[in-house]
């Protein structure tokens, strides 16, 4: 890689492997993931439940729960190694450089603290602001995320707000220290559809306003179509496809991506027709098949898929679209 290229990388993850300790020994849940986020870029991370999306992001911040640990791999943020930096430095990165928005706004706010205080906390402890300054900034942040009457709202407790409001507060907390990167872990899963669209619009607007990079984790391909620049599709802890968003929708390569796209209901479908789905479930950690992890569910599976693990190979001339599939490779060679 040229140095110019590495410099525009904000987040660069190489070969990240995460294991869960079980009674039968360590089970791999994230298997050598490579991914990167450029400055100002919005990356969508897509996959079914349990394929390691959240664990990947939590492991970057060293927030993994007990018994789950990073076995190998490197993660660099803005040129610094996240896995080896001291706890002190890491705390600065967590609060200042990387903002995190969690999945469930109902349980991710401290129930006994007023939301104004929760917003002010990182500003006071990490930015050294006075209480008064932090309070003014909290009001400003709530206004930024579209909460009306923010002067009064900072006095509210989380249980006095609706789910959508709480997620706005979560986003405001994530933005409090003006991060370079906002990681949103399925921020709309717990919300109803109209609120989902509002939150997506909100983040889109904020990204442009604040010039930050965003990683949006989701299992909903349709939701992020208008939001992200590039999509990484995860399956069973591996990257199976990586492409610019338009390219991915127009020309999905990996059978898993195709399956995901096919399972989005369309208006043109016949009324009352069955929804498409991908048969089977992702492999449990510790019971990963030999070869390609998707092979047992794959309509195109060949013999080689059950014995060898496909590598992520570029399939477009520019190299920006990559997929890990023997069937795709074979089709390209035949063409």
């Amino acid at each position: 890689m040229m140095s110019a290229k590495t410099e525009k990388r904000l987040l660069d993850v190489k070969g990240l492997t995460v294991e869960i300790e079980t009674r039968r020994g360590p089970a791999v849940v994230v298997d050598g993931i490579d991914l990167h986020v450029d400055k100002g870029e919005t990356l969508g991370v897509v996959g079914e439940s349990g394929c390691g999306k959240s664990l990947t992001m939590l492991s970057l911040m060293r927030l993994l729960p007990n018994k789950i640990r990073v076995a190998k791999g490197k993660a660099r943020f803005d040129g610094r190694d996240l896995q080896t930096m001291s706890n002190r430095e890491l705390r600065k990165v967590r609060g200042g450089d990387i903002g995190f928005v969690f999945q469930d706004p109902m349980t991710s706010l401290n129930p006994v603290m007023r939301i104004g205080d929760q917003l002010a906390e990182p500003l006071i402890y990490l930015r050294g602001m006075s209480r008064k300054q932090a309070r003014a900034r909290a009001v400003e942040l709530l206004r930024l995320v579209g909460i009306p009457g923010s002067e009064e709202r900072i006095q509210a407790y989380p249980h006095e707000l609706s789910g959508g409001m709480r997620q706005r507060v979560m986003i405001a907390i994530g933005l409090a220290c003006e991060p370079k990167l906002l990681i949103a872990d399925e921020p709309t899963t717990a919300l109803d559809v109209t609120i989902q669209a509002q939150i997506v619009d909100l983040v889109k607007g904020l990204r442009e306003k604040l010039g930050m990079s965003v990683v949006w984790i989701t299992h909903d391909l349709a939701l992020i179509a208008g939001l992200v620049d590039r999509v990484v599709v995860l399956y069973a802890g591996t990257v199976v496809e990586d492409a610019p968003v338009d390219e991915l929708y127009a020309n999905p390569q990996h059978p898993y991506t195709r399956g995901l796209l096919a399972s989005i209901p369309k208006l043109s479908d016949a009324p009352a027709s069955r929804l498409n789905s991908i048969g089977g479930t992702p492999p449990e950690p510790g019971r990963r098949p030999e070869g390609c992890p998707f092979a047992p569910r794959c309509p195109l599976a060949m013999d080689i898929c059950r014995t060898h693990v496909p590598k992520l190979e570029p399939i477009s001339a520019a190299g920006s679209h990559r997929a890990a599939c023997f069937a795709v490779e074979k089709a390209r060679e035949a063409a």
Binding site: P122, L126, E160, L161, G164, K204, K209
Partner: protein, 319 residues
Amino acid sequence: MSVVQAQPAPLAEEAPVSLWRDAWYRLKRNRLAIFGLCVIALLAFVALFGPYLTPYDFLGQDLEARNQAPSLAHLFGTDDLGRDVFSRVVYGTRTAFLVAVVVTAIALVLGTVLGAVAGFFGNPFDGVIMWLTDVTMSVPNLLLVVVINASLKTPIAQWMEARYLETLNPFYRETVWIDFLLVFGSMALISWPPYARLVRAQVLSIRSRPYITAAQALGLSNRIILMRYVIPNALGPLIVAVSAGLGTAMVLESAFSFLGVGVNPPTPSWGNMISDGLRVWQHYPHLLAAPAAVLGLASVAFSFLGDGLNDALNPRGSK
């Protein structure tokens, strides 16, 4: 962009209801709890302003008027030295509250800190602290207190006397506070383990809640997370435990004083008054009845309040 246009969901127009106001509302409707609260408030008032309420000195002897039955002059009668029993019961209330509050405060701080550290930081702290808790709990309370009092009181008193003879400093002559110090120390020593266990259990369950991970993701330090996120969320059950604990401490102090290992005469304590009264109760029942009734009332009041707080702070637990 659509930042400003985004239409948030409408919010209920109710006045903000905090957790505590909500709990107070539920507590108010619980008659027994309010009865307990009133009794405790009255006893606390008596304890605070005792010296201004009593017509006689609690030590003042009137040998002309010994063993009198209750009358207008002596509300609860007088004892075998002609001391006014009402004044002594009032002073006993002071003793009981002093011991209960100090002991509970020490036990609470000790138990909360140890329990929180054990629960939050896990092993090896957890192992050591829980081992300490189990060991303390496995020793019979009474035995421990007797051992501490029997083995420490005399040496300290002798040392004090020696110091007094050496220096003639009046500070060393006053020995009543040694009683209190030993009672505080030994009772706190046996009272902290339940708080530690409770707090640890609370912290263990709170530690895995998403808002703790969220706080960590904000870069807050462990100390701040513990003080501002974990402990406040563990407070509800702790308040209930404290209310019950205060009552238990009062009964315990009386029990120890009754057995002669607590507060010693002539300092009045409900316990040593009951002990004195028990010897002559067939002839002068009021000497037993007065302190015993007040002790019973206080104990019941704290139980009622504790129960009521439990219901008020755990709305899911009540019907």
